[in-house]
């Protein structure tokens, strides 16, 4: 809900005595005052910071906010009342917190975009790092590796996740298995990604001996991270399907499995697709589990069952952690990889939004 200052204060516009309990302050600050105070505070804060040190946006916001809070408190206290003054201070603090939190976000986006743009070229998307030292090279192998591993992860996770959610909603009836499943899916949501990686390594050590690195091992690790997200979102969507629709279908003499597959799932499909897309977005940026399961390589390998593969996040990490000499081309490729990764994640988020917006069941005339 939103209550504007205006709504609350109109009652005080007349000259009649205020009915408020605190009673001391009679007037009301016009709307423009706080904007004026805010602008003045920021200006003074900015000058102060620049004069004492250097031009710095985060400090300007912090110092400006401090000045604003003190100023608006004093003004409001003389014109309005102690209670309104406190209210205005809190409004200032809350708004400052919000603005402050925008700074890292903006800084992050600006950094990644400006530094990533340098090598965001055709060569980056068409060349691998095979035989490349220093300048040149690209992340073709890493991009393809990420797509392959994420694809395999999705192929494993989505059927298991959706069927498990169907079990919870349609068959479980709160029996022991479904209660255990709900609990352990919650537990799985909290598994640190590195631990999922260790699990996959341990599992494949049993079959293939220690030290094996393979795309499929990474996919299994990511599956452990992706399944709970798919189960949770699908379960939520299935529970939103009204029971009346299931009953209507049963009453037409439709068996349960056809009711689920032809009535319940189509009704919930937009929500499920949104959830799956967001789950993909979550695992596609995972680095740590791939570091310990898939390893790294300079050449293109698209076979998840045959040795090391390169992935975008790992590519970015190793470009930073073990650059060659000179370092600059490695760092440039690292930022380009980070930019690519961020664009993929953002695109997936936007797609998820669009799916839920345009493919939801139509109810209009």
């Amino acid at each position: 809900m939103t209550i504007t200052e205006h709504d609350q204060d109109t009652t005080n516009d007349t000259d009649e005595p205020s009915l408020e309990a605190s009673g001391r302050g009679q007037g009301t600050l016009p709307e423009w005052v706080r904007w004026a105070v805010a602008a003045a505070s920021l200006a003074v804060g900015g000058l102060l910071v620049a004069f004492l040190w250097k031009v710095n946006i985060p400090f300007t916001v912090i110092v400006g906010a401090l000045i604003y809070v003190v100023a608006i408190y004093l003004i409001s206290r003389t014109v309005e009342s102690q209670r309104h003054a406190v209210d205005r201070v809190v409004t200032g603090v809350v708004t400052t917190m919000f603005l402050l939190s925008l700074i890292p976000l903006i800084s992050l986006v600006v950094t990644v975009v400006t530094k990533g743009a340098e090598r965001f070229d055709a060569q980056f998307f068409t060349y691998s790092m095979r035989g490349v030292l220093g300048e040149g090279g690209g992340a073709y192998h890493a991009i393809m590796g990420t797509l392959v591993i994420t694809g395999v992860t999705t192929l494993i996770s989505v059927p298991i996740g959706i069927f498990a959610a169907i079990y919870l909603v349609e068959y479980g009836n709160k029996n022991a298995i479904s209660r255990a499943l709900t609990f352990f899916v919650d537990v799985m949501t909290g598994i640190p990604s590195i631990v999922a990686g260790l699990f996959a390594v341990a599992l494949f050590t049993l079959f293939l001996g220690p030290g094996t690195r393979m795309g499929i091992i990474g996919a299994v690790a990511l599956t452990v991270l992706m399944i709970p997200v798919v189960v949770k979102s699908t379960e939520e969507m299935l529970r939103l399907v009204p029971n009346e629709l299931r009953e209507a279908s049963y009453a037409l003499g439709v068996p349960k499995w056809l009711t689920i597959s032809k009535v319940v799932l189509p009704t919930a499909i937009a929500g499920i697709a949104t959830g799956v897309t967001l789950a993909i977005a979550r695992v596609i940026g995972e680095t740590a589990p791939l570091l310990v399961t898939v390893g790294t390589t300079d050449s293109t390998n698209l076979n998840p069952f045959d040795g090391r593969m390169q992935t975008l996040p790992v590519y970015a990490y190793y470009s930073y952690a073990t650059p060659g000499i000179p370092r600059e081309p490695y760092f440039a490729r690292m930022w380009a990889a980070a930019l690519t990764l961020m664009l993929i994640v953002m695109a997936l988020n936007v797609i998820a939004r669009l799916i839920s917006k345009y493919f939801a069941p139509k109810t209009g005339r």
Partner: protein, 317 residues
Amino acid sequence: MSTSTQTREPAAAELTTGGRRFGDQIFRGLSTSAGLVILTALFLVAAFLLWQAWPALVADPADVRGGKGLVHYIAPLLVGTVMAALIALLTALPLSIGIALFISHYAPRRLASALGYLVDLLAAVPSVIFGLWGITVLGPGMIPVQGGLVDYLGWLPFFGGTSSPRSMLVTGLVLGIMILPIMTAVNREVFLQTPRLHEEASLALGATRWEMIKQAVFPFGKSGIISGAMLGLGRALGETMAVAIILSPSVRYTSVLNTSGNPGTIAADIALNFPESSGIDVNTLVASGLVLFFLTLVVNMFARWIVSRRSEFSGAN
């Protein structure tokens, strides 16, 4: 279904299928086995980690990395993990409450949903990118701030010595920024669920907006804030890449946060050392992973417990 004792004629063929309907059986079987696969997988996670960690648990202390035994290897890492996560929590908790309040109760409605979306987007940024940003932008940017902390707050046990851009403080701040979106999302949901009647009752009594928030929104949202904080803490404890990239670890215990003298975290230690490890070192790292697993498990279960207690109390959910 029906257990009738009377004798009855065999049911007419029109209504019987002779017990077939494969579709139903297959579908039920698929769903049930999907559930069982997940339960088995989680059991296997625990079992395999124990199996791989076991050699390190029984090994001669001299063989374990560092040469002083498993406990001496994991203990500083555990301290580092908790330290970084606590700094993150202390940073993110007040900010997430403020941002959530801004979105739920202060921003104009149309702006609010866009802002909510922005926060969700922030949650999707891969951790490796946060790490790279932290080491490139925030770390250097924090040097004068850390210097100022040493100059003016040096009497506190947390600040002193030579500041490093790869300090525990910078790491914790980046982790705080990383868990901010999830905590904000939880708080925002809880604040938006505050019963309108409570809010209106408070406003009708002449409360200012802040008084209304104190009287109606915070009491209602308290357990939600706590469980959101626990979820954020769980994330921060398990976060790997950002720490691996930013923190410059050492194996000392110190309360000073602005130097490069703090121990690393379990997750980052695994990521940094696992690719080059073999033999007993792998087992040692898996053992430390197991410790991390149980730590996050406890924190997450505590969060769930608070949530479930809340839903029992409020009839709304």
